[in-house]
Symmetry: C2
Subunit: 203 residues, 2 copies
Amino acid sequence: MPTSTFLNLPEEKKNRIIEASIDVFSNEYYSAIKLSDIIRKAKIPRGSFYQYFEDKKDLYHYVFSIIVQEKMKYIGDMIYNPETTPFTVLFRDLYIKGLNFALENPKYVMITKNLIHDGSGIYNELFEDNIELAREFYRGYINTDKKLGRIREDVDTDLLVDFVISSITNIAFDEIRESNALDPEKMLKKAEGIISILQKGIE
Amino acid sequence: MPTSTFLNLPEEKKNRIIEASIDVFSNEYYSAIKLSDIIRKAKIPRGSFYQYFEDKKDLYHYVFSIIVQEKMKYIGDMIYNPETTPFTVLFRDLYIKGLNFALENPKYVMITKNLIHDGSGIYNELFEDNIELAREFYRGYINTDKKLGRIREDVDTDLLVDFVISSITNIAFDEIRESNALDPEKMLKKAEGIISILQKGIE
DNA sequence: TCTATATGTGACAAAGGTGTCACATGGAGG
DNA sequence: CCTCCATGTGACACCTTTGTCACATATAGA
């Protein structure tokens, strides 16, 4: 948690620090991030930083929470009735929504990517809870679909959940790994292909 | 590439260095690996190391190539006729084979995991070519299956290939992330679930 | 104006790693 | 027994980063 000293800072200075952090975070994976770079970019003295945050991790948690909030705000207005909305439709809409958010905030995508591709375990620290929530969320829709006969009863719910989460995560990263940018059309096509396989199988 | 000095070393000493490297590589992601640790474990003087290898990356490439060779030897005897072997069967067998290799060599799994979860780009450096080969390999089977009517013509081949590769990779890592060990039964069940979804879809 | 408290500042010690180099050792051949 | 070359050795100089601390500055209230 940032100190109250930080929170009371003039907006301009706070933003300078947050922007600099986002910049650096999006260019380096977590373990490789150097406070010195952030301090230089934000143009604050070293001593000041330690008056605002405990250390790198503290800063990271804070900045990341800002990003999560923004994404929540963005996705938040999607409320579907499980009874009337099949899981595949929800998945598709959520995917497109996430895709748009990613396109509007490419740096956030890079940050998440750099976070996942870090060996230090910070990823689990930040995501464990969120992922469990997401799982729960999807499980509800899948189970409703099963009851309504929209999904075969013998499909393993947890497996499907994992599959969906990992697909949604990986499409963007594969895309970035290959071209270092997001091509929305390509990604959408990919997502639709996966949904189609999901629905009908390959046989 | 190791120097000839290294290659001419008595087996015992060479192995000590390789074993120490494997040990360290399996406990740290690439960027966090310290030569000092390897040197200490292998009980060789610092100066000697630099007589054998250029640097950490040189050593890593070498040790990794040994692992790849071993895996090739292990998997190598699987030759199937695409005409008579459906893709799903191949996939399943290959998966089980890979699973057994992983169970027999847990350290190698950790090394690969630490490699993937590293932000430095070493992963692409080591794998790019291999992955393209694997893609080509799968594509052949899928296309044959399409011709023989075993897979729907409108399934996107490249997508299916990516999907299969990422599944095969991720099952093990998900498993490790959760329990830090491999539970073969669980993993096999998961793979079969995915194959079943692949075949019939969820509807 | 003075004082107390909060905040700003950057030099610095400490930590921890890397690659090198001058010197040591060993064995083969004259 | 001597020489030469390959190999062994570890102290060390160098670099980079971190977190701290003594001191500077600003602001508000007495």
